[in-house]
Amino acid sequence: MRDSGKRANTTAHSPLSTDLLRRLAPRQVLTSLAERRNYRYDAIQFGETPLAVVLPENTADVVVAVKAARAAGVPIVGRGAASGLSGGAAPLRESLVISFTRMTGLRIDPVRREAHAQAGVVTLAVSDAARPHGLIYPPDPASFRTSTIGGNLAENAGGPMCFKYGVSGDYVKGLEVVDAHGEVHTLTRDAYDLAGLLIGSEGTLGLITEAALRLLPPPRFTRTLMAHFPEVGACAEAVSQAIAAGAVPSKLEFMDRACTNAVEDYLVLGLPRGAEAVLLVDTDGDDLETVEEERALVEQACVAAGGTVRRAGTDAEAAALWQARRSVSPALGRIRPQRMNEDIAVPRSALPEVVREIRALGDASPFPVVQFGHIGDGNLHPNILFDPRQDDAAAVHHLAHQIALVALRHGGVLSGEHGIGSMKRDFMTDALDPVTLDVLRDVKRTLDPADLLNPGKVLP
C-alpha cells in the first residue's frame, strides 16, 4: 500500500488482536482504526468501535475467533451485511466483531430441494443459484440483494412473499452453530427444536455458520396490480375485504404518501404522488384461472373501498413496481437524514384503526411520521424521521414508545421481522410479562453464562 510507510499509529495491539493474528491469516484479522471504525454500525445506528474484526472463511476460523475472545473475556458480535434495522450488529461495548461476508459457500441439492448456504451468502444469491434447477428461495426482505442468510436467520427476516409463503425461519431444515464456548453444533428441527431457538435470537445465543434451507418450485403464474386510495384507512379496509372474500395474494404491500413521493423522486415511475395510500399486490399460483380470479377479488375490494386500480401490463412493469417498494426505506433519507424505525405487527382487523392512530400521533408531533409495510400480515413500519443535529433524541424516543403502545393496545407485537436489538430493548418490559422474561433470561444464561454473545441486545 502506498501510504503504509506513513501510517499513523492507530493500530490496536490488544492482547486479543495479537492472539488472533497468531492463529489466523493476516487478511482475516482487521486491527487498524480505519478498519475497525467501519465495523461499528448497522443500517440504523452507530455503536462502539470494536477491538478487532475477524473475517472468517470457514467454521474452523469462527471457532478460533470465539475461543480467543472468550480467553480474553471480550464480547462477540456477529455481523452479516449490517443491513439490520434494530442496532443488532452495532457493538454496545468494545468487542470482537465476527463478520461473515466472506463465508459465501453455497451448494444446491436439487433432488432434496435444499440449499446449503454458509452464513455470509447473500439472500438473493440462493434464489439465483436455485433457479436453473427450477427452484426458488421465497423469503425476500427488501434488503435481499445485500443481507446475508446468517443475518436473515438471526432476525427471522420476513418480506412481501412471506404473507403466503412464510418467513425465513420456516425454510430452515437445519443449522450449524458455534456456541459461546466455541463448540460446533448441528441443530435440526426435531424436539427439542434448538434450531428454532437460534432463529431470531439476534446473535445472542450462538453464531450461525451454515444453514440447510428448503427450496420450492416457483409459481407458474404471477399477476401484479397497484391500487391507490384517497385515505389510508380505506386501503386497510380493502385488504381486509379482499382476504375475507377468499383471496390469498402472495404479496400485499402498503406505502403512504410520503413514502410514495420519496421513491418517485428516486425511480421516476409515474407513481400516484397525490394518493394517501398505495397498495401493491401479487397473486400467484400454478393455475392461471385461479390467479386471475384472485386478482379480480382484490380489484373489486379495492374499488369498493374507493380505490383506483392499475394492472401491471408486463413483467418489466411489475418488476419496476416491486423495486419501488423495496426502495421505500432508504429513500426516506431524502426527507430527513435519520429515522427511528418501528416494526409492529397487529391483528389485521385492527389495521385501519392502528394506522389512523399512528398518523394522528405523527400529526401532533414535530416529526414527519411515515408508514409502510407488509399489510397482509398486519406488519407495519412506522418511521419517525428526524435530524440528529437539531432534533431532541428523547422526544423521538418518546414518540416511538407511544407508537409501540398503540400496537400493544390493539393486541399486536413489537417486532414483526426486524428484531429487538438495542433499539427496542427498552420496550420489552411492556411487551412481555415478568415470568416469561425470566424464562428468556434463564435460556440466555444457560447457553451463554459469561454473557459474551452480543451483550446488551434483546433482553432488558
Partner: protein, 409 residues
C-alpha cells in the same frame, strides 16, 4: 461535502453494486464504508493515511449512485474529497512519477501515441517488469494504429438536418482511431454536419478524479472557450468517460464566475448514442442494411454511460435497429469491468480480477460480437476476452452501426 455525507442512511443497499466490495467482501472497500471513512477524516477523528488505501481502491464507477435510493451523490463526494486530500498526501517518488506521466500523457494524443509505440516494443519484456509497469503494457493493442486526426468540418450527406460539435477525445485517437472515423461517417450519413472546434482538449475528467484540481480547471476552461454552445444543436462525445466529464462542468465550476457558462455548455452535451437515439425516435434515423447473418450482440454498459449519465436504453435501441441484430444482456452487467479511467494503472491487481470476471460473464452468453461505448472498457474487455482465448470482435456501438450502413456487418 457535508450534505452528501449526511444524506447516507447507511442502509447498505449499495454494497452489492460495488466492484471492490464484491471482490474483497469487507466494509472498508464498500461505498458505505468509504462514506464513513471520508466523514471521519473530514471530522478529524481518523488520519487521512489510514483511510487512503480504501479510498484509493474506489473505481469512481458510480455503481453505488445507481443503487442508492437515498440519492447520495457519491460521485461528487469522492471527487471533492480527492481534490481536497491530494495536496496533503505524501507519495513515494515512483508513485508521483507515475501519476505525473499519466496526467501528462492522457490529454496529449501525440505523446500518448508515442508512449504506446514505445510500450509496444517493451511488451516482450513484460514478464520481467514489476507489476506497476506491466499493467499498462498488458492493455496495449498488438498493433498501435497510426494517429488519425479528424477533419475540422465533416459535411452532411444529402439534406442537412443538424449541426453538432464533436469532442475527439485523447487516448482513443491513438488507440482506436476508427471510433471517431465511424462516428463522423454515421452522423454525416444521417444529414448531420460535424464540427471539430479548434482549441479543444482533454475533458479533464482524469485529472479531476485523481485529485489534480488545478490541472482539471485549466482543461475545463480551455474547452469552455473552444465550444460555443449557441452554435450547435449538441456537443457530442463518443467516449462515456469524457461525456460524463463534460456533463460535470457545472459541478466543477460551482460557485465560480464562469458557472453559468458551464451550465449552458453542459446542457448541450450528449453521448453520440443519445443523439442518434433522438433521431431514431423522431423517425429520422436512416435505416441500416441488414446484417449478413443473424448477429447476437452482447452490449456492455460502460459505467460512465449507465451509472454516470443514465444512458442505457439508447445504445441498445440503436443496435436493435439494425435488421438481424439482437442484443444480449450480460450477467452482472451493472458491475464495472475494472478499466475506470486510470484505475488499470493505479490498481492493476483489482483491475485485472474485474476484467477477467467481466470477460467470463460476457462470454457466458456466447455473443457473436461485443459492443460498448467507451474506449477504456473497450481496451479492457478486448484484452481480457483475448486472454480467455476468444476471438469475438469488440466494437464501439457506432462502429457496428457504421458497418451496417456500409453493408459490411
Amino acid at each position: 461535502m457535508a450534505h452528501a455525507v449526511d444524506a447516507c442512511v447507511h442502509c447498505g443497499f449499495c454494497l452489492p453494486a460495488c466492484p471492490t466490495y464484491t471482490l474483497l467482501g469487507d466494509e472498508m472497500d464498500s461505498p458505505r464504508g468509504r462514506i464513513v471513512l471520508m466523514k471521519e477524516v473530514l471530522e478529524g477523528t481518523l488520519p487521512l493515511a489510514d483511510a487512503a488505501p480504501h479510498l484509493d481502491r474506489c473505481l469512481g464507477c458510480q455503481g453505488c449512485v445507481t443503487a442508492c435510493p437515498s440519492g447520495v451523490p457519491y460521485g461528487e463526494l469522492i471527487t471533492a474529497f480527492r481534490g481536497w486530500s491530494e495536496p496533503q498526501r505524501q507519495r513515494s517518488a515512483l508513485d508521483r512519477g507515475k501519476r505525473w506521466a499519466i496526467l501528462r500523457a492522457l490529454p496529449a494524443p501525440r505523446l500518448f501515441s508515442l508512449a504506446a509505440r514505445v510500450g509496444q516494443f517493451a511488451k516482450p519484456l513484460a514478464p520481467a517488469l514489476p507489476a506497476a509497469l506491466r499493467a499498462p503494457l498488458d492493455l496495449l493493442p498488438e498493433r498501435v494504429p497510426a494517429l488519425h486526426s479528424s477533419p475540422k468540418v465533416t459535411r452532411a450527406r444529402g439534406q442537412q438536418r443538424g449541426r453538432v460539435a464533436f469532442l475527439v477525445g485523447c487516448a482513443q485517437q491513438a488507440l482506436a482511431p476508427n471510433f471517431n472515423a465511424a462516428t463522423l461517417r454515421v452522423l454525416a450519413q444521417n444529414g448531420i454536419e460535424v464540427v471539430v472546434p479548434d482549441g479543444q482538449g482533454c475533458c479533464g475528467a482524469a485529472a479531476l478524479h485523481t485529485g489534480a484540481r488545478a490541472e482539471a480547471l485549466s482543461l475545463v476552461r480551455a474547452n469552455l472557450s473552444a465550444f460555443d454552445p449557441g452554435e450547435y444543436d449538441a456537443i457530442l462525445s463518443n467516449a462515456a468517460g469524457c461525456g460524463a466529464g463534460l456533463k460535470e462542468y457545472p459541478a466543477v465550476l460551482h460557485g465560480e464566475p464562469d458557472e453559468p457558462q458551464a451550465r449552458a455548455f453542459a446542457a448541450k452535451v450528449m453521448d453520440v448514442s443519445e443523439y442518434l437515439f433522438q433521431l431514431l425516435q423522431a423517425g429520422d434515423l436512416a435505416p441500416p442494411l441488414p446484417a449478413s447473418r443473424p448477429l447476437q450482440v452482447a452490449y456492455h454498459d460502460a459505467c460512465h454511460l449507465a451509472h454516470a449519465q443514465g444512458v442505457r436504453a439508447a445504445p441498445r435501441a440503436l443496435l436493435r435497429f439494425i435488421p438481424g441484430v439482437s442484443v444480449l444482456e450480460v450477467p452482472e452487467g451493472d458491475l464495472c469491468c475494472g478499466s475506470a479511467g486510470t484505475y488499470n494503472l493505479e490498481q492493476p491487481e483489482l483491475a485485472s480480477q474485474l476484467g477477467a470476471r467481466k470477460a467470463s460473464h460476457i462470454l457466458s452468453v456466447q455473443p457473436d460480437l461485443i459492443a460498448s461505448g467507451n474506449i477504456g472498457c473497450h481496451t479492457q474487455i478486448q484484452s481480457h476476452v483475448r486472454r480467455a482465448r476468444s476471438r469475438v470482435p469488440v466494437m464501439h456501438t457506432v462502429e457496428v452501426l457504421d458497418l451496417a450502413y456500409r453493408g459490411e456487418l
